[in-house]
Symmetry: C2
Subunit: 415 residues, 2 copies
DNA sequence: TTGAAAGCGGTACCAT
DNA sequence: ATGGTACCGCTTTCAA
């Protein structure tokens, strides 16, 4: 394996000069430059990242940890993260934690050992235990989608409480009063937040919540199917199902089909998170779509700021609005996309995000703030997002109850 | 950041002893062992992978390079790769090459620089140029899905020629005679192979091929949409569309819908590769489904063998059969899943794959051979695959023409 | 059974 | 502008 020494010998210069050349710091004469370039080409030299990283304690690796890479919500986030990371010379490596704390922990240790420059995590949930080493080693970290109680880090997330409330209101507006909730793992904040939204919407509509219609477990399709089957077997009456995410919806759908129940004629269905490719094939599922690409984009942006030390303040929190996409499964007459957006909210255009981050350009918050100020309603673009709130030096992650209370207190202008 | 030295001091032993302890090689007294364990725990020590890799020239990283991580075909492959890698103590990092040679090249260099233990690539296509450094640096490499002319490496791929021929035969059997082919990038072997299959089926049915109905370009949805729109605008008559993969099908579908054409009533549609989640939501697309999970599984298995030096022979090639899943889009009366399988082919059961690879257990070929011998027709399981052919010391990747000729010469027992 | 010491392949400071 | 030279943190003989 060719080393810097081989290049130096071949080019007739010292290792120091070669080092300066490849790292781009320090002076190298045009003459030496040419000879080194030639030597590198000839022997096919690729600098050893381990040797370099050992010395510099830096790497060009960004780690993204997701619970389920097969879910398009996370692959879309990945694209967002990757696009801005690459633009800044960073490469992204993905770890699939499979909703398993142990796998997450293993990846975290691997990432630390690999000296990654930063980490973005959609955490498995529950405790901060498996992520704790990141804090201890001071690895720049940004949370995405899922908040973790007591884990002090920047976060980009969806407006789960409001989003789920709106989704529930949609079903309520169609006349449903017995709405089953197929939730995910209550150890994850999103599950608790979405349940809070569900409860809030029902309360507002003065519909009593039947706890027997609410189930939770884990985020796997099979589990949602089992729980839905059990619910159907219980004989408890209900006319609609609200699934806490797209995978839960698939599970519910399986159970419904197995019983021969037609959607939406016999049971209506809606869920959080879109499945873009499925929608392309056949617009069926009514969903609360989150701006996943933008979430990835903003998370990476915040991470870059932390990594570069440009941001030394407290915990930041960016909440992006999701939007209701009405399709067939909920049984609405007018099955057409609808953009939810509160007065005073603003869109983050793809163009702005692209401009963002180049040297000296605005930070994630700047962009978000600008977007907030410009209430602009344009056509649907996947890279768009609507900022619901931005908190600088935000309070530590609070309990769901608190979040729900705040959300309830915030006026929304979309209904 | 805690180092081995800190642990040594705290435990009252030398660095060497700590090193022996964490690497598991060499003797360490129970006494020292206990003190080291405690020290590691106390200071939260994680060995620096860079320092270790620098010395050992090894890492526990496997790189998987895919052209489009958003495509479920590749995420499913990822799951297969990851499952066997993890079982052997390796972690997988994914690079999304975005169908771009330059990105692929960049990832390859990064992987080499990072001293990955092995690489699995679904290549962007065209030349072997961007992968060439892998050969030069002797990084164990396995190709998946896409063959590369002149790149000498083990490969796991689908039976593209036969599969596409069968898919075309399905449309022919429904009475279609003017079948448009929306292909992908002809620089990739799969595209050429699938076109060969299309041509073969038409030739066998004595249907003249109308080249004006065949389009190619790249593998992006937008491109397929554009080409399909152009075809529709041309006025050239056709009654069905065969898409070279799932993304091409989405593009074609967009174009059809934009023109208000109903599928399958006005135009029938079928494609290679499934979109599992879409099918779960609504069984619509008739597809030639590939055993993606198994492809990942076998690729990783072959890679482990190369990495361990257990396999020093020539290039190996494993070809897995795909199977026809008839759904609504092709307009067939009996829209139900059908398992295609030639006499003499065998299933690889999930159980066998799991057993495979533990020390001393059978190699990828052994498993495949055993499977070939056991013609067992069971129920559909996603981890199953059907082996079409296994070649040991296979000839270098040949031209499509040659492959098509061979395929035509090989008797198949499924019709 | 343990410790001393020599690197692995770069980087970066300090002279020249 | 360039070269000499200590490391970075861990592994691995080799001696004790």
């Amino acid at each position: 394996m060719a080393t810097i020494h081989d290049v130096a010998t071949r080019a007739g210069v010292s290792r120091s000069t070669v080092s300066r050349f490849i790292s781009g710091r320090g002076y190298v004469s045009p003459d030496a430059r040419a000879r080194i370039t030639a030597a590198i080409e000839e022997i096919g030299f690729v600098p050893n990242a381990m040797a370099r990283g050992l010395k510099t304690r830096r790497s060009s690796l960004i780690a993204l940890l997701v619970p389920e890479i097969v879910n398009s919500f996370y692959t879309t986030i990945l694209r967002g993260v990757e696009d801005v990371a690459n633009r800044h010379g960073f490469q992204v490596i993905v770890g699939n934690t499979d909703e398993t704390g142990a796998k997450e922990r293993a990846y975290v240790e691997l990432m630390i050992a690999s000296q990654v420059a930063g980490v973005i995590v959609a955490a498995v949930g529950g405790t901060a235990a498996s992520l704790e080493p990141l804090l201890q080693k001071r690895v720049p970290t940004v949370l995405i989608d899922r908040a973790i109680d007591g884990f002090e880090a920047d976060i980009v997330k969806g407006d789960n409480v409001d989003g789920m409330a709106e989704l529930a209101r949609h079903l309520l507006s169609l006349g449903h009063r017995q709405i089953a909730l197929v939730n995910g793992d209550l150890a994850t904040a999103v599950a608790r937040e979405r349940e809070a939204g569900y409860r809030r919407a029902l309360a507002e509509a003065e519909v009593a919540v039947d706890d027997a219609l609410i189930s939770s477990g884990d985020w796997f399709i099979d589990d949602a199917e089992r729980r839905t089957s059990a619910l159907l077997a219980s004989g408890r009456p209900f006319t609609a199902i609200l699934a806490a995410n797209n995978f839960m919806a698939i599970g519910a759908l399986r159970a419904l089909r197995q019983r021969g129940l037609r959607v939406p004629e016999e049971i209506a269905l809606a869920c959080f998170d879109d499945i873009e490719q499925a929608a392309e094939i056949e617009p069926f599922l009514t969903v609360m779509a989150q701006p996943a690409y933008t979430m990835g984009t903003l998370a990476m942006q915040m991470l870059l700021e932390r990594m570069g030390g440009h941001e030394r303040g407290g915990r930041r929190e960016i909440v992006l609005a999701s939007h209701l996409v009405i399709r067939r499964s909920s049984g609405a007459r007018d099955a057409r996309p609808v953009q939810s957006g509160a007065v005073g909210n603003g869109r983050i255009a793809a163009a702005e995000l692209v401009a963002n981050g180049d040297d000296g350009s605005p930070s994630a918050e700047d962009v978000a703030v600008v977007a907030l100020a410009s209430v602009e309603r344009g056509k649907e673009v996947s890279a768009f997002g609507t900022v619901t709130s931005i908190a600088k030096d935000a309070a530590p992650n609070r309990s769901v109850e608190g979040a729900a209370r705040d959300a309830a207190a915030t006026p929304r202008g979309d209904e």
